[in-house]
């Protein structure tokens, strides 16, 4: 998600310890914590071509070597090539009349709109049909690679058979197949297949490659000939097609366009999906999108007075509540415990453990366990950032009303809440409020790195309504969640008044 030109002034601490802008983090509604790209499982949903939007099934994709059969990339600048058509005059040979009339024929060639490379540059003959006839460049090692792949396939199947045999060895129920070295299950599988070629495996083994000491001689003028850079391929161009790595520009050939993936992301702790795109490649929508942007109050820096060592500067922060529920925001110091809390009917604060968070269904992962990615949970890392200013935290809290899309079109007058501390809340409209805080950069010069921007840290506690519980006919759970925020305020002003 693009977010205000991707400026990372306000960063949220993810539960894994990385710092990201709100546009790049997710909020898992099931374990009530912030997740980011580093601490979720990435799963490929589908493959598609970004140019023609074809999305073949996964098995076909593998056969196509993860490349689109119709679209090509420019070998020179890696943009998508477009198919151009032209007309040529062809003398028809079939006319019985003496004067053969020239016939116009449609021809096609590939051309790049960015760098004007064309298939004609490479000497590829023009085609008479627009798609399908473009031949792909053969890798010189194709034969060897397929031989090796086939050999390893055989090895793999032998290993599998051995494992299967071991599994059944202890049982020894059906002995009639044992003398042939296979179990009954294997025998059932083998029905209708080619006879086992176990003895042949030795002869199938491809020739091992041999290292050679002889190296091709460099040409005599290698150091004296002046080179024309415009005719030699760049490193990028060579690595784009590693099998060939051609040296001269005119040897470049169009490359089939690689498929890109639609992926869903899954929380590693509870296995619930935090992001799942629509299957259709033309759609940019999501089936599930638990972006933090929709659940966690958003914080933006409105203004900050010039920062001076040891002097307090005014900092205006704008908070925005994206949820349908009213929320109370309390700003706390960095060292407060981050566990979510709830207030019981008796008004007692209670810590919530992962176990008693009201979760939805327990097994959200419908994929068979064999396909499923093994989930590795890593320990959260320490947030590695130097805080070099103190923020004076307010003693009072403030309330953000729920989001109301219709209110956007209402009377634009500012609505002041009478309960607000006028020293804290300076502006308020709809679900947004601007508050005023004071920031004092630390005087301690040893800690200061020269020309490092000033960073302040604070913890935000916000009210959250767990609506998953309502699906199970329970009263929605009111929770107080906390998130650590790091604000980059800019550099110190050096000329002290």
């Amino acid at each position: 998600m693009a977010y205000l030109f991707q400026i990372d002034c306000v960063r949220y601490a993810c539960s894994c310890g990385s710092l990201k802008s709100i546009a790049k983090i997710y909020f898992c509604r099931h374990c009530l914590s912030i997740r980011c790209g580093y601490c979720v499982c990435h799963e490929v949903d589908s493959y598609y071509c970004s140019n023609c939007l074809e999305n073949p099934p996964a098995s076909e994709v593998r056969l196509k070597k993860y490349k689109c059969s119709n679209c090509f990339d420019c070998p020179c600048c890696f943009e998508t090539l477009s198919i151009r058509s032209g007309q040529v005059l062809v003398k028809s040979l079939h006319t019985t009349q003496e004067e053969s009339k020239p016939v116009t024929k449609k021809i096609y060639y590939l051309s790049c709109t960015l760098c004007r490379w064309s298939s004609r540059d490479a000497g590829i003959p023009d085609q008479t049909v627009a798609t399908g006839s473009w031949r792909e460049q053969e890798s010189p090692n194709t034969y060897r690679i397929t031989a090796l792949i086939n050999f390893y396939k055989i090895l793999g199947s032998i290993e599998k058979q051995q494992k299967e045999r071991k599994k059944f060895q202890s049982k020894r129920i059906f002995l009639q197949f044992e003398k042939f070295g296979i179990t009954s299950t294997m025998a059932r599988k083998r029905v209708g297949q080619l006879p086992l070629l176990q003895s042949n495996t030795q002869s199938d083994q491809p020739q091992p490659s041999e290292a050679s000491e002889e190296i091709e001689e460099l040409s005599q003028d290698i150091f004296t000939k002046s080179i024309d850079i415009t005719k030699i391929t760049t490193l990028d161009q060579r690595l784009q097609h590693p099998e060939l790595q051609v040296e001269n520009i005119n040897e470049l050939r169009p490359q089939r366009k690689q498929f890109i993936v639609k992926r869903s992301q899954r929380c590693r702790f509870c296995e619930h999906t935090v992001s799942k795109p629509d299957y259709c490649p033309t759609s940019t929508k999501f089936k599930i999108q638990l972006a933090a942007f929709y659940h966690v109050p958003e914080l933006r820096i409105v203004a900050c007075e010039p920062l001076r060592l040891g002097y307090s500067s005014e900092l205006l922060l704008k908070f925005c509540n994206p949820t349908q529920h009213q929320t109370q925001i309390i700003l706390l110091s960095m060292d407060t415990p981050m566990m979510p809390t709830t207030t019981t009917l008796q008004g007692i604060k209670e810590e919530i453990n992962r176990e008693n968070v009201q979760m939805g269904c327990d097994s959200p992962n419908l994929l068979p366990s064999a396909v499923r990615q093994a989930i590795v949970v890593e320990e959260g890392r320490q947030v590695n950032i130097v805080i070099n200013a103190e923020v004076i935290l307010p003693s009072s809290s403030f309330i953000l009303p729920p989001r109301d899309d219709a209110a956007e079109y209402d009377d634009p007058s500012d609505s002041q809440n009478s309960q607000d501390d006028p020293k804290l809340v300076v502006w308020r409209k709809g679900n947004k409020a601007i508050i005023r805080l004071d920031v004092i950069p630390y005087v301690d010069k040893d800690k200061m790195v020269k020309d490092e921007p000033i960073v302040v840290g604070l913890a935000m506690q916000y009210g959250y309504i767990n609506t998953i519980a309502t699906l199970e006919h329970k009263a929605p759970q009111k929770l107080d969640l906390k998130v650590k925020l790091f604000l980059t305020l800019g550099n110190l002003v050096h000329n002290i008044l």
Partner: protein
């Protein structure tokens, strides 16, 4: 339009060849010669600051593009900026080059400085700029954010279809300067 701004009063040093289409909304300053069948769009600027500008045949000079013969401190005498035939100056491109050959294309927002000489069939890609002194070899293309270079096999084709289309369209919607140069002798025979 006031008399001061009328084309006849400031056109004395602007020569326009027969068949050229120069819109009145174009910004023309100084001693300019525009060859036949050249199209100058509205809001294009041709500014002969240091010396005259001579533009050849069949060029397309698009909106917001600038061709300028800029004054520089190391000029000796009056430098003449010469632009050849069938060049295309796309939207918001700037050409200060002292000499431009034939069949060159300056794509959108391209910039070519005064020290540069464009030969024939060169393409300066969108947003690419050439600032150092050089003679760009024929059929060179400069493209991408890194200003990569390559030699093309073929020069860009003259935009004859586009020229023809523009002649029709612009004439229908804009006031144009009347050509004031006699057609060249080779053409008068046809």
């Amino acid at each position: 339009m006031s008399d001061l701004m009328s084309p006849s009063s400031r056109r004395f040093n602007i020569k326009i060849g027969s068949g050229a289409l120069v819109c009145e909304e174009a910004i023309l300053k100084g001693d300019i010669t525009i060859g036949s069948h050249t199209v100058v769009h509205p809001r294009a600027s041709i500014i002969a600051e240091a010396g005259p500008i001579i533009i050849g045949e069949g060029n397309i000079i698009e909106e917001m593009s600038t061709i300028i013969n800029r004054i520089s401190p190391d000029d000796t005498g009056t430098p003449v900026q010469i632009i050849g035939n069938y060049n295309v100056f796309e939207v918001d491109s700037t050409c200060e080059a002292s000499k431009v050959g034939d069949n060159n294309v300056l794509e959108c927002k391209a910039y070519v400085s005064k020290q540069v000489e464009l030969t024939n069939g060169c393409v300066i890609g969108a947003s690419c700029s050439l600032r150092d002194e050089e003679v760009v070899p024929e059929n060179t293309i400069i493209y991408g954010s890194q200003c990569h270079r390559r030699e093309m096999n073929d020069k860009p084709y003259p935009q004859l279809g586009q020229l023809e289309y523009l002649m029709k369209m612009l004439l229908g919607y804009h006031h144009i300067y009347k050509p004031n140069m006699p057609p060249p002798k080779t053409e008068s025979s046809t």
